[in-house]
Homo-oligomer: 268 residues x 2
């Protein structure tokens, strides 16, 4: 664990002297999950975590998540936190949760955070990666890990279109439910070819202070139209300026998407 994360409880707790705030970094395979956020039906990351937590501590409490991920979307670095009265050490919390959680969810690390820490509101940056698999034939071992594209893509046009998304913009054109503010600052929007086990993939990396619902997948859906030559790279700026969801491309499938990491001020 990173030392900078070893902040002890800072005494801001007001209602109970023993209360602490614990954060965890979660990895999950979203294939058989209906999403991160608790729902009345189906397995969710939040539901599984809260159920495991109740078995460990007896506490029936709500965990707060940094980002909402949809059914089929994976995470290497989702962050969640809970305010708790438990006396268990962090090592026990991590070991016990990993024993109690189903095999498609795991706790990569656990650390103490100030009592005011909120996984969602305290976050200053989210990094997402979207994987495309550029092969002529579908690859069974990657079918839930990357979206198969069997035609050549104009990667230079895609990179150009992505570049225009960097900076502060109103991303309403790429959000399914643009209720409330739709301005976000995008810190990174790039794509690169990577090789895995002899296969050719394209990794699309997007980082921002926040994302609207379906924003990454809608950007990727639009990007695929540009990559396939159906639209020009310059259209990305027009779509962005329109603030009209109808101008953007379709929402790309969930299984290529990974929430890679969430950044908080204390982490530098």
């Amino acid at each position: 664990m990173d030392d900078t994360r070893q902040e002890a409880e800072d005494g801001e707790s007001s209602d109970a002297s023993e209360r602490r705030n614990i954060a965890v970094q979660l990895e999950y395979d979203g294939t058989r999950l209906v999403g991160s956020q608790w729902q009345t039906t189906g397995r969710t990351v939040q539901g599984e975590l809260e159920s495991a937590w109740q078995r460990l501590t007896g506490e029936q409490v709500r965990w707060t998540f940094a980002g909402r991920t949809d059914a089929g979307v994976h995470a290497c670095g989702q962050v969640a936190n809970v305010r708790t009265h438990t006396q268990h050490s962090l090592a026990t919390v991590q070991r016990a949760l990993n024993a109690l959680l189903p095999d498609d969810i795991a706790v990569r690390q656990a650390w103490h955070v100030p009592i005011t820490f909120h996984a969602r509101y305290s976050a200053v940056r989210r990094d997402y990666r979207y994987l495309l698999l550029l092969e002529r034939w579908r690859v069974p071992l990657w079918r839930y890990r990357a979206v198969h594209v069997d035609e050549p893509l104009d990667l230079a046009a895609m990179a150009e279109a992505l570049h225009g998304l960097e900076g502060e913009h109103d991303f309403a054109a790429f959000g399914s439910t643009p209720d409330g503010p739709t301005v976000r600052e995008c810190f990174r929007a790039t794509c690169e070819t990577i090789e895995r086990d002899g296969l050719r993939l394209v990794a699309i990396d997007l980082a921002a202070n926040g994302f609207l619902r379906h924003m990454v997948r809608t950007i990727v859906g639009t990007l695929l139209q540009i990559g396939h030559g159906k639209r020009a790279a310059a259209e990305m700026a027009d779509i962005l300026a329109s603030r009209d969801r109808a101008q953007a491309g379709p929402t790309a499938p969930p299984h290529g998407l990974y929430l890679m990491s969430v950044t908080y001020p204390a982490q530098g």
Copy 2:
């Protein structure tokens, strides 16, 4: 496709002038398959391939497979062949099979072979890879792809033990059902650390002219005992010499195992 594989039918067919022999290279995710070989219950690679083939050609025929893989074992380069009267081109065969096969099985290539070619008997070498995931905590996205090992491994001892397997030996100690000959020539037995997405893995590579049932997994099970310091590297030679299955370690789980490739004389 490799040009050396583009051998046309060589006229050895005796019973029908149109009959040809077609080979395919198959990739599959073994997680939800009960194995490669046809069984009365459960989905098998052979069953799915023969069903797709019947739908494409109307022919109810038996395909021959190069190697038998168990439930949970994956393949990047399984080879199978069929003698057929179909007039479909190779391109049509591959495209149609990939459309008809379920999403955990795909045809990577298809090519003509001499009528006497037999995927199993003509093979001169099989390459298998077994993946271990060396991480303190289990990793959900790799749970069906590599076997998790949370304790340090003595890789030097494992490499030494593996080295002793190279050459021609009687492998009866590592075969579950040593009926018939148990002498095989092992061309390669190595292990190396590899990195994937920030994770540390160990790849154990075994190549031989043939393998007994469960041979790779029993070698890996024994190797893990050596890696954990429960047995000395030198014991591998004693186990081999004993020709007694009871001397070897347990059969390692199937999901770390991949049939990587099968080699035939014409491929050089």
